[in-house]
């Protein structure tokens, strides 16, 4: 650990030493820039072997140097977080580092030559972050909570802007702020730019605080969608300020409201249009797969710029472009292109975010912009904080009347505390026109302070706050085993009943939309091959599992007993191989079966007790409520209990297939399968399978396996020809014990665990087909079984 600290210090020193002379060199050479050619000719006395051509490369060099510095900064910050302290969120640390760098630059130059200029921010740094956020957006979650998100985004932002602006104006009128050249409209303008919750800051902080998925999507979605409102409010009040007070009448106000509709919806539809364009493009790039990935970025950026050009909401445009194109682009593009896009997106987004926070810090070190007005600044902080809390609770109270699963109080607290302001607010402030708004510098200063306050202070205290709140609600630790077990069971039960009662999204609308989407939109935007493969794959998968179930039961039948035995050692050995390192923890805690006899009764009990509690704590499956924020800036599959999910899923599927098979089906020779049947069955399994993460990675492996069997599905309605053992269904249903545990011999394990994402899944399926055929021949004589 000490070595990493030294590394960090070394890097910091490197940063300082490297940047300083460069800056000094820059400031000297700027005068040379005027007449480079002339200068060279003048001083030329002999042939120069090497010349220092700074002026040729100045601009790109500076850009790259700053990118490099940003990268180093991120590295240092992450190392610092990892090894020394992890109290301050990375974004906060980056800002502080920016302060230091800004100090260096200012020290060298006596003026801040590197500022975060609004055009740089809005055109070069922001778009990729938003594109990344929208491309990886969990769509289903987003759309099922869209109502709530819209309420917060639209009404919440308007509320924040109005209240903050009006309160500040009220305080100004009361004389608290001293003498300022400012009016009501300017206060409202300021309110509108400070009101917006910032997506960059929100992601940066929430990533370190694990909150449940609904809460995350609400805050995240709100921060993305409120740009529509912010842009409109900002432009409207900007125009009002330019027009001047007297000329504002009802018509203008009405135009303002109307412009909101146009800007927001216009931006969204533009984004959707570009998404369609992108999907169509990727549909046609079968022969030039190497450049497919580029289209995603290019078209996304085009969407952003086009909306900006038409004065529509650029963030909304790129957001909807990313959201809508995900599915089709991922289906159409080659596997490698998909990976490329994902990695590149994360890279760009990470880089941009780092630079934004760094520059936010650098920009602070500038004597020109700082205007200090205690009343204004403190009051702004206060109002921003308070009105956010009030607004959140107010709107949540209204929403909970309509939501099926209400938003809890803790979530509301986190939501209000998580209303972070960031670079967007600063960018908008820097865009203000000094002539129209004389107090521009005051506003910039205030905005910067609000940003620092929310990002650094609220970022630091967010995690402890969440933990404190949760700990308050959680039961005390001296619970008995059975209480712990039951608590977890209750969590699961509650989650299940909530799911049964339904998310909001399951109604006529969504079903209709799904049907429409599947029939028309997918037909248009997805490669035909991709579409067919989905259905095909699912039916193959279904068939194979059905075969498994049939074979399993027949195998048991053959062995003559219903309690299918399984060797414990084999199971353990298998799992050790598969789960490798995770097993190490369990091995440490293994209750030593030998020493039970040696120790005395008391000690044995105590040890057992501790071990049992510890084991249970570690290995109980977590329930849905406790985890799973689905978006992360730096990781792809952040769902750390993917393994758990897979285990549970496999288990459930096995037992269901079992009961399904034994209670309903007859097995018939292949018939011409009507579309209706196929659709129905595939629909069944589609619902099962599509929702589990990781499936889309697994599917291409199946394709590569080249499973060419004709689609074969047994007829469900009329079992005309069922094998003898099925006639007495009740008698043959495997015991519960058998249902639970399948004969986990190595063969079966590989076959029955197709969800395992491994590079050798293709092998397992090829081999599986082989073994299946063999068994077919074996059993053919015994029963009138299916024909391949």
């Amino acid at each position: 650990m000490a070595s990493s600290v030294y590394l960090c210090l070394l890097r910091a020193v490197f940063l300082v030493c490297f940047v300083n002379p460069l800056i000094q060199g820059l400031s000297e050479d700027e005068s040379v820039f005027q007449n480079p050619h002339h200068q060279q000719e003048e001083n030329l006395t002999g042939l120069p072997i090497v010349t220092f051509k700074w002026h040729h490369v100045e601009t790109p060099y500076l850009v790259i140097i700053w990118v490099f510095v940003a990268g180093l900064a991120k590295l240092s910050v992450v190392e610092l977080n990892h090894h020394v302290i992890s109290v301050v969120p990375e974004s906060g640390l980056l800002i502080i580092l920016g302060f230091i760098l800004g100090g260096i630059v200012w020290g060298a130059d006596r003026a801040q030559t590197f500022k975060l200029l609004p055009p740089t921010f809005f055109y070069y740094l922001l778009p990729q972050i938003i594109l990344d956020a929208s491309y990886f957006m969990p769509n289903k979650l987003f759309f099922s909570n869209l109502g709530a998100i819209l309420i917060y985004a639209i009404f919440g932002t308007c509320w924040n802007a109005a209240t903050v602006g009006l309160s500040l104006w009220g305080c100004y009128e009361a004389g608290v702020m001293g003498n300022l050249d400012i009016g009501l409209l300017q206060f409202l303008l300021f309110g509108s730019l400070i009101a917006a919750v910032d997506p960059v800051a929100v992601i940066a902080v929430f990533e370190e605080v694990h909150v449940n998925e609904v809460l995350f999507i609400l805050v995240f979605g709100e921060s993305l969608l409120n740009d529509g409102v912010t842009v409109v409010l900002y432009n409207v009040f900007d125009a009002f300020v330019a027009l001047g007070g007297p000329r504002i009448d009802a018509a203008e106000i009405f135009k303002g409201i109307f412009s909101f509709v146009v800007v927001a919806f216009g931006g969204s539809f533009l984004g959707i249009g570009f998404a369609i364009l992108l999907s169509l493009l990727t549909r046609c790039t079968k022969h030039i797969q190497i450049i497919e990935a580029g289209f995603v970025f290019v078209v996304g950026y085009l969407a952003y710029l086009t909306a900006e050009m038409l004065s529509l909401s650029a963030i909304l445009s790129i957001t909807f472009c990313g959201i809508c194109c995900q599915k089709y682009v991922n289906a159409n593009m080659d596997e490698k292109s998909v990976t490329t896009v994902r990695h590149a997106m994360k890279l760009l987004a990470n880089g941009s975010e780092t630079m934004i926070f760094l520059f936010l810090g650098v920009t602070a070190i500038d004597t020109e912009i700082w205007v200090w007005n205690t009343g204004f600044i403190l009051l702004t902080l206060l109002f921003v904080f308070i009105y956010r809390i009030i607004g959140t609770f107010l709107f949540t109270w209204m929403l909970n009347k309509f939501r099926l699963v209400p938003i809890e109080v803790i979530d509301q607290v986190v939501m209000s505390y998580g209303g972070l302001r960031g670079a967007v607010a600063y960018g908008l402030a820097a865009l203000l026109d000094e002539d129209k708004i004389p107090e521009k510098n005051l506003m910039i200063s205030t905005t910067l302070i609000v940003v620092y306050f929310t990002v650094i202070l609220q970022g630091i205290t967010m995690k402890p706050l969440v933990q404190w709140l949760k700990v308050k609600r959680a039961a005390h630790s001296d619970l008995k085993l059975i209480e712990k077990l039951n608590n977890r069971a209750f969590d699961h039960i509650l989650a299940a009943v909530e799911d049964i009662c339904g998310r909001i999204g399951d109604n006529w609308w969504t079903r209709g939309w799904n049907r429409f989407e599947e029939n028309y939109i997918s037909w248009l935007l997805m490669k035909p091959k991709a579409r067919k493969n989905r259905d095909y794959l699912f039916s193959i998968f279904h068939k194979l599992n059905l075969e498994d179930a049939i074979n399993y039961v027949s195998e048991g039948e053959r062995q003559g007993s219903l309690a299918f035995s399984r060797s414990d050692e084999a199971a353990n050995v298998d799992f050790k191989k598969q789960f490798g390192s995770e097993f190490a923890d369990v091995i440490k805690d293994t209750i030593p079966s030998v020493s039970l006899d040696i120790h005395g009764q008391d000690r044995k009990n105590a040890m057992d007790d501790i071990n049992a509690h510890h084991l249970l704590q570690q290995h109980l499956y977590r329930s849905r409520k406790h985890h799973r924020h689905k978006y992360s800036r730096s990781h792809f599959s952040i769902n750390q209990n993917e393994d758990e999910v897979q285990e549970i899923f496999q288990r459930t599927m096995r037992s269901r297939l079992e009961s399904f098979k034994s209670t309903k089906m007859g097995v018939n020779p292949a018939k011409k399968i009507t579309k209706h049947h196929k659709k129905e069955l595939t629909h069944k399994f589609i619902f099962y399978l599509v929702e589990v993460e990781g499936l889309c990675v697994f599917l291409p492996h199946l394709i590569e396996a080249g499973i060419e069997n004709p689609v074969f599905l047994p007829d469900m309605d009329s079992p005309t020809h069922s094998p003898p053992w099925l006639m007495e269904t009740e008698a043959v249903a495997p015991s519960q014990r058998a249902q639970r545990r399948l004969p986990w011999t190595p063969n079966r394990l590989r076959r029955l665990a197709p969800m395992r994402i491994s590079t050798c899944s293709t092998d397992s399926f090829l081999m599986a087909d082989v073994s299946l055929t063999l068994e077919e021949h074996e059993e053919h004589s015994q029963t009138d079984h299916v024909e391949m």
Partner: protein, 177 residues
């Protein structure tokens, strides 16, 4: 109605019932429940599905659906003091506990045997725990609760050992008001 659920909630739950009922025959079968994807990744999902179906039946109508869900209504303060001569409401603490108890007790003999407990444990726990460890956890669990020494947990023992747990809060869904 005895279930004490408000009219708007009933309407909403009916539309949910209807959307789940793909066969459109006014009753839900097990497949209709299994179609909900989240239940497939819930360890106790299938058991809970079974809880909706009365003994030996394969279909549940809307009334049965509501009956089961009514267990999860929050307990009102004013109800706690009400006279219970008309029979306990479905969402009383006892009935909530009974619902959970029946999830463990599959053979409905009013006792959770070691095997049944083992089954539930196995469902709720990862694959990294071996059977011996699980067995000893089950033994300890029974030890904690068992007062009459029959190596099974009866309903009264179950209730007693969970008396400190805030069941009313943990098994309530607020919207079923």
């Amino acid at each position: 109605k005895k279930l004490n659920i408000s009219h708007s909630q009933i309407t909403r739950l009916y539309s949910r019932f209807h959307s789940l009922d793909k066969g459109e025959n006014g009753a839900l079968s097990r497949e209709d429940f299994q179609r909900i994807p989240e239940l497939a990744i819930n360890p106790l999902g299938d058991r809970i599905i079974n809880a909706f179906f009365p003994e030996g039946e394969d279909q549940v109508n809307f009334r049965g659906f509501m009956r089961t869900l009514a267990h999860f209504r929050p307990v009102e303060d004013n109800e706690k003091n009400k006279d219970l001569t008309s029979g306990e409401p479905l969402n009383s603490r006892t009935n909530k506990l009974h619902f959970a108890f029946q999830l463990y007790d599959l053979d409905r003999d009013d006792k959770i045997s070691r095997d049944e407990l083992l089954q539930v444990l196995r469902m709720m726990v990862g694959v990294n725990i071996s059977d011996e460890q699980l067995g000893s956890i089950a033994d300890r669990t029974i030890q904690e609760a068992d007062t009459n020494g029959d190596m099974c947990i009866s309903f009264s023992e179950f209730t007693k050992v969970l008396e400190k747990v805030d069941v009313e809060q943990k098994m309530s869904i607020r919207f079923l008001h």
